[in-house]
């Protein structure tokens, strides 16, 4: 083998190798890791510039939107996805619910000493595939390594930049009494899929994470011409917290109809035996939209026309309420508050 061949004397041992501190040391080992794992996975013209930052064209028209999201999920791999695709979808969705067309992503990785290279490869491949499928390249990134015990395998922070059309303002403070509340599909799938694989809790349930990039669905919603006032992706804290946030920002109340909220039977059953309320369980491929009452049917049709919105439903209405209460008519027929989440949901004991 020629000594002048480009690259490294020995390629990374993906099958058996592990992250060690030298991979974050700034030397050759780090350069090799970046080359063989990250550049190989994310290959695009901006990343290929190989500098400290990516030089990007300024988009014409509209306004820029920027967001960032840290991902710390455990376990790293779960039914329906993994931390890699999740970190792409999560940030794209934060841009999408602002009405923005996502353009670029930056990704920074905190790797824990001992992380198998095979896991890292699997995660970055999943990220790259999600980014390609969404048409949003990862244009720059960073890697750090922390000692064993100081991380949870891998933490991924992604930052996204997008552009929103002039004149389009989606904001949590724009909900008005009378507005309709629409949801793009079933709730709780992601949270319960992850929960089903927790070390001390594993249960067999046919539940998959709903992790998905929603900018395509949003494009269809915007194209419908419906007067959308606000959107949120109900991730941590679930639908209940997303709606309480909007109610607080807008100074309004809401009334939901429990019977109208889509919920898979397997998710409902898993929540039931753990004592969880699906309203507070995380989603990674759903959005909730607030729109003018008269446009609700049109918006619903546009959402249902997209594969990620087939199970969309109108789940309630905004109403005037000085206390900003989100209330719900239960399937049983009574009324209850849908409050903010307190701390983390903890299983009840009896």
């Amino acid at each position: 083998m020629s000594a002048t061949q480009s690259g490294y004397a020995r390629p990374l041992d993906i099958r058996k190798g592990q992250i060690d501190l030298s991979h974050g040391g700034g030397g050759r080992a780090m350069a090799q890791l970046i080359e063989e794992i990250f550049r190989a996975a994310f290959a695009n013209e901006y990343l290929a510039q190989g500098n400290d930052g990516a030089v990007l064209p300024v988009p014409e028209g509209g306004r820029m939107v920027m967001t960032t999201d840290a991902h710390v999920v455990s376990p790293l791999f779960f039914p329906g996805g993994d931390i890699g695709c999740l970190s792409v979808h999560g940030t794209i969705n934060d841009l999408a619910v602002m009405g923005a067309r996502p353009l670029w992503l930056a990704a920074s990785f905190i790797l824990e000493e001992g992380l198998p290279l095979a896991d890292l490869r699997r995660i970055t491949d999943s990220m790259a595939q999600a980014a390609r499928a969404a048409g949003v390249p990862v244009v720059t990134g960073d890697t750090k390594v922390v000692e064993r015990g100081k991380g949870d395998g891998i933490f991924i922070t992604t930052t996204g930049v997008g552009v929103v059309a002039d004149g389009l303002v989606l904001s949590g403070d724009r909900a008005r009494p009378g507005d309709a509340i629409l949801l793009s599909g079933t709730i709780g799938d992601h949270g319960m899929a992850v929960m089903s694989r927790r070390e001390n809790l594993a249960f067999d349930a046919p539940i998959e994470s709903d992790t998905a990039a929603l900018h395509g669905l949003v494009a269809g919603m915007l194209a419908s011409g419906a007067d959308i006032h606000a959107m949120r992706d109900p991730t941590r804290g679930g639908l209940a917290v997303a709606l309480n946030e909007i109610a607080r920002q807008s100074g309004v109340g809401m009334v939901l109809d429990e019977a109208g909220i889509p919920l898979r039977p397997a998710v409902e059953a898993a929540c039931e035996f753990l004592g969880y309320d699906p309203l507070y369980v995380a989603n990674e491929g759903k959005l909730v939209a607030i729109c003018a009452e008269g446009d609700a049917a049109r918006l619903l049709a546009a959402m249902r026309a997209h594969p990620l919105g087939r199970e969309s439903a109108i789940i309630g209405a905004v109403q005037a309420c000085p206390h900003r209460f989100v209330q719900m008519k239960t399937r049983f027929g009574g009324n209850r508050n849908v409050d903010w989440l307190t701390g983390e949901q903890l299983p009840r004991i009896c």
């Binding site: 059953a269 039931e272 209460f325 399937r331 027929g333 009324n335 209850r336 701390g343 004991i349 009896c350």
Partner: protein
């Protein structure tokens, strides 16, 4: 969801509600205590009270295991984790219970205590097996429902010769608490808590059976209907109580016959009797010292008794004087009557124990029902 939806059917609820309204229109009022936090939770979450006429009122009882756990016992657990370096395993609910010095088990964990949430008592055994060099303590709480699993844990630990696992036992007994309420001055003398009957526990009764309640029904002339935790169960049980009162009966009836028998689960009872014995007295948060109301680990199993193993002494800690948890747990006050409710005391910063667990009267009312305290401006 099969076998659950049947008990949450809105149409059936309307039917029962109509029957309740008809049969309760006797000109008198009906006040029933649901003893269990599970019922409190169901009533709040499904809005059961919305189906009841104004003269039928539910009073929340003390059957929330987290709510009645006194501060001193949590302090003991925190002390074990922070000062004695033990790994403390706890169910999820007790982690947020406020203890002395602004601490809770969650906050003690942030201070470096090795405190782990487990989903079942047997998880504590797995953790003890996996960490033979660590001293493990399981914080056992709950009524008769969670007692048999703790007994099993202790028996298994002894069978396999575990020498790094013990149990801080706080198991309490339902019948003694009901008796205590019936004998309280508010119920007996002042009449400030007029109680016409009890919705009896579901899961607890599956273990102890319906027989232990026969005494109250007879001695105190209070009807008891043992009820499942689903909203239709609760409504049906309320109707059964109304019928008993209208007929002048005071009996133990069993609405939850799909799980509860008169004798209960004898195997579980035998297991509990083998490992535990009665404490002469035990402090309940809100009720104070209640004689023969709790269990302790028998001397034969002393090696697995954390109180014995670590020489622990219980120190009673008074609640915040403004906190009405005690009166609320006895049914003498409602959550909204407390000055702290929703102001200084919220689920994020609970002052009293009723605000901690979602089964606590205050937390349930705060989370599900507080819109009823406020005047809603319709759209």
């Amino acid at each position: 969801m099969k076998y659950v939806d049947e008990f949450r059917d809105g149409k059936l609820a309307q039917n029962i509600a109509r029957t309740i309204a008809r049969e309760a229109s006797t000109g008198r009022s009906y006040r029933f205590m649901e003893f269990c936090g599970g019922h409190t939770h169901a009533i709040s979450r499904y809005g059961v009270a919305d189906f009841l006429p104004a003269n039928v009122r539910m009073i929340h009882g003390p059957g929330c295991p987290v709510c009645v756990l006194p501060v001193g016992r949590i302090d003991l657990a925190i002390g074990l984790a922070l000062e004695r370096g033990v790994t403390l395993c706890s169910y999820g609910d007790p982690l947020r219970v406020p203890a002395s010095g602004g601490l809770s088990l969650l906050k003690a964990r942030a201070r470096g205590g090795d405190i782990r949430m487990v989903y079942s008592a047997s998880d504590a055994l797995s953790i003890a097996r996996a960490n033979p060099e660590r001293e493990m303590v399981f914080l056992a709480i709950g009524f008769e429902t969670t007692t048999p699993p703790t007994a099993l844990l202790i028996k298994q630990a002894r069978a396999e010769g575990r020498n790094n696992l013990s149990v801080l036992c706080n198991h309490v007994l339902t019948p003694s608490a009901i008796m205590h309420i019936l004998q309280s001055p508010e119920v007996r003398e002042y009449g400030t808590v007029p109680l016409d009957g009890f919705i009896g526990p579901a899961h607890v009764s599956a273990v102890i059976g319906s027989r232990p309640y026969e005494h109250f029904a007879r001695e105190y002339r209070k009807p008891v209907v043992i009820s499942g935790f689903e909203p239709l169960d609760v409504m049906q049980s309320i109707l059964m109580l109304i019928r008993q009162i209208n007929d002048g009966r005071a009996e133990v009836e069993n609405e939850f016959s799909r799980a509860v028998t008169r004798e209960g689960n004898r195997k579980a009872q035998a297991l509990v009797a083998e490992v535990f014995e009665l404490r002469r007295t035990f402090e309940w948060r809100g009720l104070g010292e209640v004689p023969y109301s709790a269990l302790k680990i028998r001397a034969e199993y002393a090696a697995f008794d954390a109180e014995h193993r670590f020489g622990l002494r219980n120190t009673p800690v008074p609640d915040n004087p403004a906190c009405e948890c005690g009166a609320i747990l006895r049914g003498a006050r409602k959550p909204a009557d407390c000055k702290l409710f929703g102001a200084a005391c919220t689920p994020e910063n609970p002052m009293g124990s009723c605000m901690v667990s979602s089964e606590g009267a205050c937390a349930a009312h705060y989370a599900y029902g507080r819109f009823k305290d406020a005047e809603i401006v319709a759209a």
